[in-house]
């Protein structure tokens, strides 16, 4: 179980982004988090994935808290894959940093063998996002946070990526938090949907 207990966060001491937010995510559950731009969804995602430290409150992952002494079981995927990949590495090097991946797994994600010797600039956004998914879905991963994962992609690529992800989530019984401002997408993919504004308003 991934538990977010009463976390608050502000980028400076005067203006808080949010206060006292709690949430829990079970293995195998796909939870949607809906909200418009600029209300702190991404900041929230970064805290859950351990990129930022909350001012108060805690994030408890299967009984443990940050920092972990091993690979983070909570993996974050963002909106712009091109910003999270070293532009001077070929794709096999990018994947190599995270471990060894079986051909079967890469095929499942729709990663073509020919892409391995390309640089990120030679691949499209949808293609790069698949590599980010591969890196995020190492065996140690238990929870996946998808922050506007497919917002920049065309409808077909979007449907393709979701088809793969939903299948993998089910297979491995991972918990997934889907953050998006696209309500139809959340309705299609999630077991339950929370409105971020409701979470904020509870205080």
């Amino acid at each position: 179980m991934l538990k977010v207990n009463n976390i608050s966060f502000g980028y400076n001491s005067e203006h808080g982004v949010f206060k006292d937010i709690s949430l829990s995510l079970k293995p195998g559950e796909i939870l949607g988090l809906y909200g418009k731009s600029g209300i702190g969804k991404t900041t929230f995602a970064k805290i859950i994935a351990g990129y930022l430290k909350p001012d108060t409150g805690s994030v408890v992952v299967d009984g443990e808290t940050y920092p972990f002494k091993r690979r983070n079981p909570v993996q974050l995927i963002g909106q712009h894959p091109e910003n999270t990949i070293n532009p001077r590495w070929q794709m096999n090097q990018v994947l190599g940093e995270s471990g060894v991946f079986s051909d079967e797994f890469l095929r499942e994600l729709g990663i073509s063998n020919e892409w391995m010797h390309r640089f990120p600039s030679q691949l499209s956004g949808g293609e790069l996002q698949r590599f980010c998914l591969a890196r995020a879905l190492v065996p140690e991963t238990k929870y996946l946070i998808a922050d506007e994962m497919t917002t920049m992609l065309d409808a077909i690529t979007k449907a393709q990526i979701w088809e793969t992800v939903l299948q993998l989530i089910k297979q491995r019984q991972l918990g997934m938090l889907v953050i998006s401002h696209e309500f139809p997408l959340l309705k299609r993919t999630c077991h339950r949907i929370l409105d971020f504004e409701d979470l904020l308003g509870k205080n």
Partner: protein, 324 residues
């Protein structure tokens, strides 16, 4: 706007076109093994006509070459680009020299990134610099800001003091105050939430008043359908279909090309069903139809022969099996 929508496409063709692109292709040289030079074609046989007062969306996935289209029309391609085909603006050939003279004046661009604003210049001044009527520039700029709902003191602000949505409106204002007859909007609505999207699109639609034409480049078919009269669907560097807005309905029975149908059905609001395979690489050469490897209705004939564009039900399609 409203008037145009009711005229079937076949009739609008007889109207005077604002922009006409015919058999346009764009390629870049590439060096393979040593010094062997070859060309990769990123846009092939592109065709599109835009009439005054009309919004035509060009919809394609990332990496399909659609942004290069904007650059081609403005004449701001890299030096090594090779172009073929014909572009007419108001019936007269659009040469490199003419492009240089009229870009920013008669053809205006709304760039994708809000970073395109000059960080060291106040927004009011920036917008005024694209007004040709120098005497009235302050008034025109003020009116545009008002029309777009920007707060009164916005013209005194530097870009870093604006929110993302405000910066986007300043970019739209720049196009609004210019005397441009054609506006090219290159992904002006990336990743906006529903409310911000509605707002931005309303402002963009205001631009097509006064008989201006617009090319609206986007990957988001949902956004395109909100304002465009016609949708040109771009795949693998080709226009596979030019459909009318009202054709996107139900299960997509009125759409002509299998790719357009798949694109429509893939929306989460519809079937959310993915099409297998990947889009072709830039420069990948097909003896037959560019969509054949992924097409659910392709035959051997499609493998060997290239479909030419044809008029079907008031739209244009490049498929052997489009039903009329």
């Amino acid at each position: 706007m409203e008037k145009l929508k009711k005229i079937p496409f076949s009739e609008t063709k007889e109207m005077k076109s604002l922009l006409e692109v015919k058999d346009f292709s764009l390629s870049f040289p590439q060096y393979k093994k040593g010094f062997r030079e070859s060309y990769i074609e990123v846009i092939k046989d592109f065709e599109l006509t835009i009439h005054p007062g009309e919004i035509v969306a060009v919809v394609g996935s990332s990496g399909s070459g659609k942004s290069l289209l904007a650059d081609s029309l403005l004449g701001i391609l890299p030096e090594n680009a090779e172009i073929k085909g014909k572009i007419y603006f108001e019936g007269v050939a659009l040469t490199a020299k003419r492009q240089q003279q009229i870009r920013g004046k008669e053809i205006s661009l709304i760039p994708q990134s809000v970073m395109a604003l000059d960080p060291l210049m106040k927004t009011g001044q920036q917008v005024q610099s694209s007004i040709q009527n120098k005497k009235e520039k302050k008034r025109i700029q003020k009116e545009a800001f008002q029309k777009l709902g920007l707060p009164k003191d916005t013209h005194k602000k530097y870009p870093f003091e604006l929110s993302g949505g405000m910066a986007r409106r300043v970019l739209i204002a720049t196009a609004m105050v210019s005397e441009a007859k054609l506006i090219i909007a290159d992904e002006p609505t990336p990743g906006l939430d529903e409310q911000a999207l509605e707002e931005t699109l309303t402002h963009i639609k205001q631009l097509s008043e006064n008989d201006r034409g617009m090319m609206f480049i986007t990957h988001d078919i949902h956004a395109a359908l909100k304002i465009a009269d016609r949708i040109a669907v771009f795949y693998g560097g080709e226009t596979v279909e030019i459909a009318n807005n009202e054709d996107f309905l139900g299960k997509g029975e009125n759409l002509r090309h299998p790719y357009t149908k798949a694109l429509w059905r893939a929306l989460p609001e519809n079937d959310f069903k993915a099409l297998k395979g990947n889009q072709p690489e830039a420069g990948e050469v097909f003896p037959g139809c560019v969509f054949e490897p992924r097409c659910p209705i392709a035959t051997d004939f499609c493998k060997k022969n290239k479909p030419k564009s044809a008029m079907v039900n008031n739209g244009i399609v490049r498929c052997f099996y489009a039903e009329s």
